[in-house]
Subunit: 418 residues, 2 copies
Amino acid sequence: MKILIRNIKALLQTDPDNRPLVAGKEMSKLPLLEDAYLYVEDGVIRGFGEMAAFADSEFVKLSSHGDVHEIDATGRMVMPAFCDSHTHIVYDGSREIEYIDKIRGLSYEEIARRGGGILNSARRMQDASELQLVEQALERLEEVRALGTGAVEIKSGYGLTTESELKMLRVIRKLKELSPLTIRSTFLGAHAVPAEYKKRQGDYVDLIIEEMIPRVAGEGLADYIDVFCDRGFFTVEETDRILMAAMKHGLKPKLHANELDYSGGIQVGVKYDALSVDHLEFTGDEEIRALKDSNTMPTLLPGAAFFLEMVWPPARKMIDSGLPVAMASDYNPGSSPSGNMQFVMSLGSIKMKMLPEEVIHAVTLNGAYAMGVQDELGSIAPGKKANLIITKRIPTYAFLPYAYGSNKVEQVIINGKI
Amino acid sequence: MKILIRNIKALLQTDPDNRPLVAGKEMSKLPLLEDAYLYVEDGVIRGFGEMAAFADSEFVKLSSHGDVHEIDATGRMVMPAFCDSHTHIVYDGSREIEYIDKIRGLSYEEIARRGGGILNSARRMQDASELQLVEQALERLEEVRALGTGAVEIKSGYGLTTESELKMLRVIRKLKELSPLTIRSTFLGAHAVPAEYKKRQGDYVDLIIEEMIPRVAGEGLADYIDVFCDRGFFTVEETDRILMAAMKHGLKPKLHANELDYSGGIQVGVKYDALSVDHLEFTGDEEIRALKDSNTMPTLLPGAAFFLEMVWPPARKMIDSGLPVAMASDYNPGSSPSGNMQFVMSLGSIKMKMLPEEVIHAVTLNGAYAMGVQDELGSIAPGKKANLIITKRIPTYAFLPYAYGSNKVEQVIINGKI
């Protein structure tokens, strides 16, 4: 299928240099082309340019015969679809009941102690069939796709037994087959300590290392490994052991870190060359130094900070220190029941004082990097996958984070299909 | 047109007692009917009941002939459409430029001092044609309708000259004709002091009293009057003078009050039997006492508090003191560029700790009261207008505020039309 989009008001984040990520001051610059066209063939972006130059381009001929779908984007912008690099969308049912406990004043940790939280989802996970889980997750993927998301990382971590974790990862594998979205899977056996291991957390870590990781890696079920390295969850030493074992099995880390405290999670992530460290509410000078010369993408999840009423991660300080920043939804039933990346942009901007240009980079190219798909997604460049958003009529791109309650997405193209 | 909705999972806020509002502890009780039907004819709710009793009801016969539109609402809930009792949706263009100043750290008041804020909208208002304004406002109304809003109050206040204020009110009159939504108009000449009156604010108040109010009332252009009674805007004494003049012309007040300080706005509102006092970030014991035996609806605008990063109004304390609470969107280009009442519910719940039942009352019946339409809207009762929301498949009504980034509305019925 060929697609020719004409009269694009602005083509956002065209990246002729094919950078893998955007950091520091560069984040406030948004390469764009006004009054543009874009040509897609076989699911791939073939080229783009100014409308005035279209008549002299090679695309006139290419788009003049065969099955070409033409889109007039007058007044509309075109940008890369969102890359949501941190989600937990495989789960059974929602958790509004605990939510009411939360409104009544119980903390996240108190709810967890009462057997709510992750362990609640884990209980339901054991009972749910793969088919049920696939169906529910597909609905969630379809909802976020319509809101502009083109790539999603999905974690296990509501299993917490070997069989149940493998079940979750098989569900994610099934989603990769069934969904048009680009999906990456992450094994998160170290999401929480199951009740039966309460006083012997080390044994659970052993189970992860000796049984889960070998089986997950052996079956090729995960692209990455994650550990919730934070106060009340897994220690730096435990994380270190798990990541060492994972490394031997070729699993690169993406960590939950520094959500609840200065946990050392960022540093241990950098030590193992993590693709990303995520959450980062507690990030100080030392953590920023650790990230500075690393390959690790600091990934902020403002939806969780919003929903749990945490402090905001210091996005401004990170960017001003020269770091890159990605943002993801953390879509999950307990701490962030939303996968709306448009709202994530609004939170980044309204609450974390990121400029519109910065939030756009954070949810596209930097998000792509944080899930290892920056070579194929995240910017508008010839040869990249045609995962694109066509916006509604909007006055400027600043309108994207500004109009926080609106759906600004009119059409989403995934793999060159509308 | 007749509509029969069958198999409704839960019919929310059916109010057989036809209360004008819900206050205090009553707000945490949500009268509902499970597994229900609802019958609409000529734009009006005729009746409802349990599905099991449908076969024996009078509606079997009524719905058995003629043009009956049947809706199967299996898995879905039906509730009253939202009544958004405080908006400023007549304006020309948006204000993302100032928004960027705001992200860069300028305060609302600093932006106002630089000639931004309300005065920016006022300049553009003078240049815009009625037709342009009507078209833009209709688009906004259509957007909020699709998100579940069935009634909207709209204010003037970006005119700030007699002619420009009258133009805005004529635009609202036109919207009443053109839009299917129930609309109420409010004259807000006292929204800000125009630049040319900077050192002689009293003269502007005189202009409002001597020229604007008589003409607005004479042409029957406004249902209500509003004054921004707060620090840096209009004083209690000025508000008192304006409301006295308005009373003589039969205009009931709905005030902007206590957003920026303990301004006395609440008390002067109660003194003039205001229909509502709105914002209320600064509400203490004295203000709650003033409201306690009044007919005035405390109306919270959490979208503005979210966007401007104000303190949250003490909703919990108000309700626990026995007061009713309404919530509205404050949809406007400067301080709350969203009319999404579903997100207002989420903010009420996540940020102000209102229970799901309380937020539902706040955006339906109490919102209807705050704009004087409680006799015809805001609950599900025979004889009321059929302005209804049919939700998507949701597990419980707590899901409405909980899933903060999702559109939970599948279908909206306005005046008995789909």
